[in-house]
């Protein structure tokens, strides 16, 4: 069991995950520090996205997927992957930003307010305030305040991704999941999103999957290196990228494979 001396937001204990008969995640243990950024790195197919999608139960959308073990959410220690816990409840507490920007073909406001709408929120001024706050948090407000009724598809890729971040933030999630959020974006948009992610950790716990090791080194506090469905090494990001303790980790972060 890996221990860190921080307040925890979540703790993964002995997580196994199966796509049908294929075991994609093996005995994963991982602490998630509260209001910190935890990065998941590793070569393609190592299971980092699979792992991330356990946190909001996205695997429940497809048949024959199976979890074993525990992801406890604090405070309270609810095991969010238990079959007794409704995945919708989990998704209402833990938001996600996807790899490719996926705004709804609706207006900017409708996109950001969607989470509130599914929660049955009717108060107009409350929604307006929340939308405004989320757009501010995602650094879109200054660009968008006069055109919030424009269609989301008319925005640039980077703006669309920030809109998706706003959509995820509008419902005050406890954890925000990022699945390679910049892999479809150009360098300028990427640095904007990275800046944003670092800003956001003041308010929300963040887990980010990234292909880009510089990105992990730049933004995260903790890093977990995954390989073939297992966590090979987990440590503070500074230490991981300067003095990795495992040979495999060193080979990966120095670019010898992956």
């Amino acid at each position: 069991m890996i221990r860190i001396s921080e307040k925890l937001k979540a703790e993964v204990k002995n997580l196994n995950f199966y796509y049908g008969s294929f075991q994609a995640l093996k005995n994963i243990d991982l602490p998630i520090a509260d209001k910190k950024i935890t990065a998941l790195i590793g070569p393609s197919g190592c299971g980092k996205t699979t792992f991330l999608r356990c946190f909001n139960r996205m695997h429940d959308l497809y048949p024959e997927n199976r979890y074993e073990g525990e992801i406890s959410l604090f405070p309270g220690g609810l095991n969010i992957i238990s079959s007794k816990v409704d995945p919708i409840e989990v998704r209402m507490r833990i938001s996600m930003v996807f790899q490719k920007p996926n705004p709804f073909p609706k207006t900017i406001v409708e996109n950001v307010a969607y989470g509130l709408r599914v929660r049955g929120e009717k108060r107009k001024d409350f929604i307006v305030e929340k939308v405004k706050k989320a757009l501010r948090q995602s650094a879109l407000w200054d660009e968008m305040k006069d055109r919030t009724d424009d269609l989301a598809f008319n925005l640039s890729g980077g703006q669309q991704q920030r809109l998706c971040i706003a959509r995820a933030l509008a419902t005050d999630p406890e954890i925000l999941l990022f699945d390679e959020p910049t892999s479809a974006l150009d360098p300028t948009a990427t640095s904007k999103i990275e800046e944003l992610i670092m800003q956001l950790k003041k308010e929300v716990t963040i887990i980010i999957v990234t292909h880009n090791m510089q990105q992990a080194a730049r933004v995260s506090d903790y890093t977990a290196f995954m390989y073939l469905g297992e966590i090979i090494e987990f440590d503070k990001t500074d230490k991981m990228f300067t003095k990795p303790s495992k040979r495999l980790t060193e080979d990966y972060i120095t670019g010898r494979f992956g």
Binding site: L61, R91, S95, F98, F104, P105, V118, R167, A168, T171
Partner: protein, 310 residues
């Protein structure tokens, strides 16, 4: 260099010229094929219009069929067609959309849904007279709806149901999975996802399928004859709006009827040439009814897809 193996530039040019001739010949064959279809259709239309256009006028739309060709009209036929189409749309569209949504979004992929899928595709290709026979047994004799507008509408509804289902499914499949995931990740339930995203984004395609189905139904004759539509009818169904409470009446559903293609068939099968002109005129009207529906579908599709780019 491998000069001995390499063809000379002259030979290469010869080869290219030869290939281009083949290219040209195929282009010509394609053009010819296109023209044959187009010219034939065009001739058909011109012929129809030359024969029928002079007959089209107020009198033609407001008269019942008659023994005298110049007094005959299509009043009962176009009213019948319109009412039957309303019943058809009202049954096939909700049933078809619900089925399509169920199969795409709810149904687990197992042998049962697979069986339904295969049958659905086969049903769309079954000759329409078979539907007529089924409807005769089911609606006319068993459910005792009689030889009525209701029976006609339901029969055609069954006929186009597979088309609506297939169009709905195809349209739903066009929505990228990332949009579904975005909705679910926001905490939406399945129904919220369907109502807020799946249906609105696929509506253009569903509508197209519906109109294509209705366009086919409007010209169907065989199943309608089978269920007993009349060929000569000189009265209208009961009005849907009444003067007394509750002001709406559904009695028209059980009234006898005729439809445009039957009226046309009736006129064509008569010996007098002037009745044939009436048939041509009715053909023009039927053509325009179909064009109108298709035009509406194109407009709606444009309207709904304008804001959607995947």
């Amino acid at each position: 260099m491998f000069s001995s193996d390499h063809p000379s530039i002259l030979e290469v040019r010869k080869r290219i010229a030869f290939n281009k001739i083949k290219d040209y010949i195929f282009g010509m064959i394609g053009l010819l094929a296109t023209l044959i279809g187009f010219v034939l259709l065009f001739t058909l239309f011109v012929d129809l219009f030359v024969d029928g256009l002079p007959r089209i006028g107020w009198q033609f739309f407001t008269s019942y069929p008659s023994r005298f060709p110049e007094k005959a009209g299509i009043l009962s036929a176009w009213v019948g067609t319109t009412l039957v189409m309303i019943v058809t749309a009202a049954t096939a569209v909700p049933l078809g959309i619900a089925t399509g949504i169920y199969l795409e979004e709810y149904g687990k992929k197992n042998w049962f849904t697979h069986l339904i899928e295969i049958n659905m595709n086969n049903l769309a290709g079954i000759p329409s007279i078979i539907y007529g026979l089924l409807a005769l047994g089911l609606f006319v004799y068993f459910l005792k709806f009689g030889e009525s507008i209701l029976t006609g509408g339901l029969t055609l509804g069954l006929l186009i149901l597979p088309m609506v289902v297939i169009a709905t499914r195809e349209s739903i499949r066009g929505i990228p999975n990332s949009i579904r995931e975005a909705s679910y990740a926001s905490g939406a339930t399945k129904w919220q996802t369907i109502k807020d995203h799946i249906l609105p984004y696929s509506f253009g395609g569903i509508l197209t399928g519906m109109i294509i189905g209705l366009s086919r139904a409007i010209g169907e004759t065989a199943p309608i004859i089978t269920v007993g539509a009349l060929t000569f009818i000189a009265f209208l169904p009961s009005p849907p709006i009444t003067s007394g409470f509750p002001f709406i009446s559904f009695k028209w559903l059980l009234d006898p009827f005729t439809v445009m293609p039957i009226q046309m068939f009736n006129w064509v099968s008569r010996p007098q040439a002037s009745f044939h002109l009436n048939a041509a005129a009715a053909g023009i009207v039927l053509l325009f009814m179909t064009l109108l529906m298709n035009g509406f579908a194109i407009y709606m599709r444009y309207k709904f897809r304008k804001r959607i780019k995947w």
